[in-house]
Amino acid sequence: MLIIVCPFCGKRPEIEFTYGGQAHITRPERPSELDDQAWAEFLYMRSNTKGIHAERWRHARGCGRFFNALRDTTTDHFVATYRIDEPQPQIEQPAEPVPPP
């Protein structure tokens, strides 16, 4: 059960959250203008990053907000969480494990 820092509520246990998959995938403005391949990219293709992964979480059993997080998928350590309207922080992969917040 991870500890996740909700940008609004602070440190909370993972069971209060739902996972929302890869972050920064924006629904196309005009889907009908996309060909099947491009639409399938939006629907299904995911980076499945091994390392720092930008992903969405929702504090579903808390404030209800979606937000984004950077998490190292090789350690499950969070590097950052940020609001949905904020840009992805530029953070280089830490050289060694960072303790949980």
Binding site: D36, Y44, R46, K50, H53, E55, T74
Partner: protein
């Protein structure tokens, strides 16, 4: 290269000489500069594919590259459930192909993989479950796949520890039983294929991690860079389960995959109490008993993607409260060991066994939580696909392009959701 005979007689004979005469079950070769084909990933699927390449397609100059030790990934971490009572024709054909191979695998490999068709029983707890399972039963019967409907009393007779009381939160309303389903010994599958493939000339190279994929001017695969040097081949099959995305990215191929932690656990060994495999999708419980006596229990996946090979405590808690509800006599038994694996999941939860956009590069992935059962069948058709550069009729539907075109094979969706 000949392999040593494995039999009761050979055990007796060598036992008289304190088993001094046994050789390595597979060689520890240095990688050659080039191979006719390379399989990346030394799990059951990869080793099996190498075996069938050599056995059925005459391609013996094959290497299997494994970054750790063979069988150390999901092959050695799963709960070994084998069944083929899938709904769609495409899935049923693939998994039943596999079950048929399981039935003769110990003899084929001269290695006891302990395939035990003890029956797999899937519990229905809601009216909706009944509808879904009966649909499976009917579809399977018409496809020639055994699967039968049991009333609760029949389910109890088949699995005596099962609680079929109507007082519990989700009473058992019936079950679908596939008698040909069962379990096998996971390590033996990897080792058996390794030994048999080795005997046919396949080089099994452990501690060899692929770090890059080289492609020629035309874009086709020409070599792999590894921690043990550059190895050339124009035919590369990737069978790397949870790490498939990482490998395929080296060739610029993106796949609709996400890797999730999946956990399993065993109890302390107890005398035989559990004669079959029981699965309950509705309350998330999967259980059988190993030959050693441990109850082998599958837990759920975690909610988030991860490569850590460990899952959360609360996942185990939910699994075990379900187990204790269905089998209240097991509440005082203890968890002995818990472990995690990484499962690669596609959007329709069906695998991809296919050519890729890169010539000479093939992929077998996306097995999610159900890859072990498919090991022989998947390996068999993957070898065919690599050898002939075209899909076997059985894996023809399991392409990458199906996601673009919308021809999904969505068993999970077909199990649908409660209304």
């Amino acid at each position: 290269m000949s392999r040593q005979n494995f039999s009761a007689l050979s055990l007796l004979w060598r036992g008289l000489s304190r088993h001094g005469g046994w050789r390595e079950q597979w060689r520890k070769p240095e990688p050659k500069a080039a191979y006719d084909a390379i399989i990346v990933g030394g799990g059951g699927h990869g080793l099996g594919a190498a075996y069938y390449l050599a056995k059925e397609h005459g391609i013996g100059n094959v290497a299997v590259l494994e970054k750790g030790w063979i069988g150390g990934g999901n092959t050695g971490r799963n709960t070994t459930i084998i069944r083929s009572n899938y709904l769609f024709n495409e899935s049923a054909a693939l998994y039943d192909h596999s079950v048929k191979l399981w039935e003769g695998l110990s003899q084929e490999l001269d290695y006891n993989v302990m395939f035990s068709p003890r029956g797999v029983m899937m519990l229905a707890h809601t009216v909706h479950d009944i509808q879904v399972f009966k649909r499976h039963v009917h579809a399977n019967r018409c496809n020639g796949v055994d699967n039968e409907w049991l009333e609760p009393e029949q389910a109890k007779a088949f699995c005596p520890p099962l609680n079929i009381s109507s007082d519990i939160r989700y009473p058992v309303l019936g079950a679908a039983l596939q008698r040909r389903g069962g379990t096998a010994r996971h390590d033996a599958v990897a080792w058996g294929y390794a030994r048999a493939a080795d005997a046919l000339g396949v080089d099994i190279i452990e501690n060899c991690e692929v770090t890059a994929i080289r492609r020629d001017a035309g874009g086709a695969v020409e070599a792999l860079e590894t921690t043990r040097g550059v190895i050339r081949s124009h035919k590369v099959g990737v069978s790397a389960a949870g790490h498939t995305s990482v490998i395929m990215a080296m060739a610029g191929v993106r796949l609709p995959l996400e890797s999730y932690p999946l956990q399993a656990l065993v109890s302390e060994p107890i005398k035989p109490i559990f004669p079959c495999v029981v699965m309950s999708n509705t309350i998330h419980a999967y259980i059988s008993q190993s030959d050693k006596g441990e109850l082998v229990i599958g837990a759920g996946t975690d909610a988030y993607t991860s490569y850590t090979q460990r899952g959360a405590l609360h996942i185990n808690m939910h699994t075990l409260d379900a187990i204790c509800e269905l089998f209240p006599n097991f509440r005082r038994l203890a968890m002995l060991r818990n472990w995690g694996g990484i499962v690669d999941v596609t959007p329709d939860r069906s695998p991809i066994i296919a050519k890729t956009p890169v010539p000479g590069l093939y992929v077998n992935c996306g097995w999610g939580t159900g890859g072990f059962k498919a090991t022989p069948g998947s390996a068999h058709v993957f070898a065919w696909t690599m050898a002939r550069d075209q899909a076997h009729p059985i894996n023809a539907p399991f392409t990458i392009e199906r996601f673009r075109d919308g021809y999904l094979i969505d068993e999970a969706a077909a199990a649908a959701v409660a209304h």
